[in-house]
């Protein structure tokens, strides 16, 4: 042991709680890694459904987990990690979308054709499908924010109306009424655009 170490060894004492802290930290790291493995893909899909840009969606997922790291002490208090994480990433993507309002979204037909599943479809059919989906997404964007958010979250089959309510911070009956209004509005919008063509 060097002289400096000897001085510090006598001067600074290592508390017994440090060992417990290390064990606790290791357990938190393991829990965090498990959360990443389990929910990163789901969070990516939620982020992508709003941002419709793969790089931005991945950034949002990473930011969500960084927020989790910052609040790792509260991990044990969370009842439903999946809804909690979706809520975090949902707030992040809405914030990003609000800030980057001027940036054009990549929901054009070519981008849709690139990401759409092409199993059993000819190139012509795929192009037609991409055009259709891009048109529908453009109509969805015209919906009021409250109705649009509920409609987008309802597309995730793993989310029940109770969980959607928890993500949005509203009641379940509000989710149902907003979903009802959103369906009516989107039908009217699609009908209007079909008649105008």
């Amino acid at each position: 042991m060097s002289t400096g170490q000897a001085i510090y060894a006598g001067w600074m004492e290592i508390p017994t709680s440090a060992v417990n802290d290390q064990a606790r930290r290791r357990a938190e790291d393991a829990a965090l890694a498990a959360l990443v493995d389990q929910y990163a893909a789901a969070l990516y899909r939620v982020a992508y459904s709003v941002l419709r840009n793969p790089a931005d969606a991945e950034d949002a997922v990473q930011e969500a987990f960084l927020r989790v790291v910052r609040h790792r002490d509260t991990l044990n208090e969370v009842r439903d990690h999946r809804v909690w994480l979706i809520r975090i990433v949902w707030n992040i993507v809405l914030d990003r979308k609000r800030r980057a309002k001027t940036r054009p979204e990549t929901d054009d037909v070519s981008e849709m054709a690139r990401v759409l599943p092409s199993t059993g479809l000819s190139a012509e059919d795929l192009a037609a499908a991409a055009q259709h989906h891009a048109h529908v997404l453009a109509c969805v964007e015209k919906l009021p924010a409250k109705e649009r958010e509920v409609l987008m979250l309802s597309a995730f089959e793993e989310l029940s109306s109770v969980e959607i309510a928890a993500v949005l911070g509203i009641t379940e009956s509000s989710v149902r009424s907003r979903l009802f209004r959103a369906r009516n509005l989107i039908a009217r919008l699609l009908d209007h655009t079909r008649n105008s063509q």
């Binding site: 990443v36 899909r45 992508y48 991945e58 059919d125 529908v136 089959e157």
Partner: protein, 160 residues
């Protein structure tokens, strides 16, 4: 009009069609290696600062340490106050009295200026020697308002 080849039985203008589109978007697969990249970013995230334990002698819980800290605060506050007190002087009335300046007759006045520059005294002209003729009384000059000095209105020529 656009059609949906993924679900040909759905009409393009129904809400089910819109929900089907959203479901396709929602079920798109995540990119390869997403989890690894997130693991990396989490690992690189800055941890909370490590707190070193206080030495036993300097533990904040010990009373003498608290007393010393309180004394240091009191000393700093009192010292600062004393420093300000000694530097700042109270506003005392001025002892200078401004007297009205005596202006020589026919000379320039100071125009009420509080300070006037001290100019160098000008060159002194040599005094002429006093002669006897200077002692003689000067001849009397006629008074200005005498008859000969000022012509009357009758004597003046008419000006057309």
């Amino acid at each position: 009009m656009t059609t949906n080849p993924h679900e040909p039985h759905l009409s393009a203008s129904t809400p089910e069609s819109a929900e089907h589109t959203l479901r396709i978007i929602a079920n798109l697969p995540a990119p390869e290696g997403l989890e690894e990249r997130v693991h990396d970013s989490v690992r690189r995230a800055p941890r909370q600062a490590r707190i070193l334990a206080w030495p036993t002698v300097l533990k904040p819980q010990s009373n003498w340490m608290r007393t010393a800290a309180a004394a240091a605060i009191v000393f700093a506050v009192a010292g600062g106050g004393w420093g300000v007190y000694t530097r700042v002087q109270p506003n005392r009335p001025t002892k200078v009295l401004f007297m009205p300046r005596s202006v020589p007759p026919g000379g320039f006045s100071g125009a009420g200026a509080i300070r006037t520059p001290e100019t160098v005294p000008g060159p002194a002209a040599p005094q002429p020697p006093k002669s006897k003729a200077a002692k003689k009384p000067a001849p009397k000059t006629p008074p200005k308002n005498s008859v000969t000095a000022q012509p009357t209105a009758q004597t003046q020529p008419d000006v057309e």
